[in-house]
């Protein structure tokens, strides 16, 4: 008899719990009362792109849905999505060489509200900022995210450059990953916009 059959049959019996010894119940199976905020930053030849993905836990769902759907009609209109994105964007800060850049909201991908209520809804927002010209070779980028810091879990990183003429130095973060900073260089040769990120093989922070 196969192990799968044994497993399925054995665990079909109610006395399974009696087979367990010394087991301490684990943590929750899923993030409940936290908001996961993932930030990916891409350095492109003429602009910086920021992708933010927000995934609220079940315990944060009502608060999140209320922000997303202020008229409570159960649907997220494009204007509601844009308003929400602007709210998030207002809590982000992007500096290049000490100069704060204006962020433009791009695509907003809104999850199904039922998915949000079960803690698996990902809301993704794209922001871009034009990269000011500079005679300097090395540029300094600093990013911070102050959207709902209470109860949030942050992850912040940089996409691998799309071509060999862009180089990104070591990433620096605060402990909570609300802020991310790094230096980068862009050689004069233009690089076409990426269709798929390349292998990290050629990179060296």
């Amino acid at each position: 008899m196969s192990r799968l059959v044994v497993l399925c049959r054995r665990f079909g019996r109610a006395q399974f719990a009696g087979l367990l010894l010394g087991f301490t119940p684990a943590a929750h199976a899923h993030r409940l009362d936290e908001l996961l905020q993932r930030s990916f930053i891409a350095v492109e030849p003429a602009r910086i792109s920021i992708e933010i993905t927000l995934t609220p836990g079940v315990g944060r769902a009502d608060e999140f849905v209320a922000s997303l759907d202020p008229n409570h009609d159960g649907k997220i209109s494009s204007s509601e999505g844009e308003t929400f994105a602007a709210t998030v964007g207002g809590q982000l800060a992007l500096f290049i060489d000490g100069q704060r850049l204006a962020l433009t909201v791009g695509d907003v991908s809104v999850p199904d509200l039922d998915a949000v209520r079960t803690g698996v809804g990902d809301l993704q927002i794209q922001f871009t900022a034009a990269l000011p010209d500079s005679p300097r070779g090395a540029r300094a980028l600093r990013f911070s995210n102050n959207y709902l810091p209470a109860g949030s879990v942050y992850l912040a990183t940089a996409f691998a450059p799309a071509g060999p003429n862009i180089r990104i130095g070591p990433l620096r973060r605060d402990e909570a990953q609300q802020s991310l900073a790094f230096d980068f260089t862009i050689q004069a040769r233009p690089t076409p916009a990426p269709t798929r990120p390349p292998s990290s093989a050629a990179l060296r922070p």
Binding site: S2, L7, C8, P25, A27, L32, T157, P197, L203
Partner: protein, 347 residues
Amino acid sequence: MIPTPRTLFTLRLLLALGLSSAVRLPAAQSDAKPAAATDRIVAAANAFLATLDSEARAKVAFAGDDRAQRTRWSNLPTGIFERRGLRLADLTPPQQAAVDALLATALSPEGYRRTHEIMEGDEVLRTTEKPGRLIFGSSEYFVAFVGAPSATDPWTLQFGGHHLALNLTIIGSRNTIAPSFVGAQPAVYTIRGERKRPLGVATDLSFELINALDESQRGRAVLGARFRDLVLGPGQDGRAIVPEGVRADSFTPAQRQRLLDLIRQWVGVVHAEATDAKMREVEASLAETYFMWSGPLTPGSPAYFRIQGPAVLIEYAPQAMGGDATMHLHTIYRDPAGDYDTRRAGG
């Protein structure tokens, strides 16, 4: 070596006795041609398909270009993530046995054992978590084929459920298990008097490696930021991030071997021939591979690590969600050169 029914029985007996639970993945050992493994897996897949009626066969089979199905995998349990394919609970014992034989053929003995231990762990959850929308249990795992099993044309075997997503893509003699998610909750449990740690060896090896680094290396490897989740987990296909940590070109031979042993814990989930082929790629680019750590260095602590190079990306992230983070582990294995072997499959 082609496993005979007797060797498989012996293997299962050893597994049942728990003798393999502390065994590390075997070193490269096979000189069999990779095509032989593909033939065996195709035969096992077709043997399973032969147990199904036409309705079930339609449920388990997806077109080779069905991108949505290829990427439809998750660490999440039934109830909040909808998998497609055939659920073990809906199969007859002979059909379950055929799935099991397929897994035993496609995976290494260690990968097969770990798969079962993860499923056992989910059964533990079923008995300890409050009933609700989340559905746990060893029968809440799904099997599917993207593309028809073939010795020559591309196809993918999917097997997964809560804390498990195996995507074995086969293109002729080439087999890859990337991307795959392997997790554990509870990460330690005792069943029938036997203590189980599905990711125990990997966890122990990671602490051995970080503590084997010298001060300078460790200074580069350890980051101050906290990583409380996977960066490139489910849903993050096709992405490449800036590598961080210490490069293995500064490692001593002994440190490199520890790194290889750790990598093999993920690469080696698949059968020996595919493992050996992939480990050769990993070794060839090991000097360009980074090891990064976040968290305490004391063995048994909740610590995140990442291994990233041209041939491999591995993340290990304890999950602090209202309890002991060391009891709830998420890990991901990806191929930066192309998950699902897309460099050969054409996208």
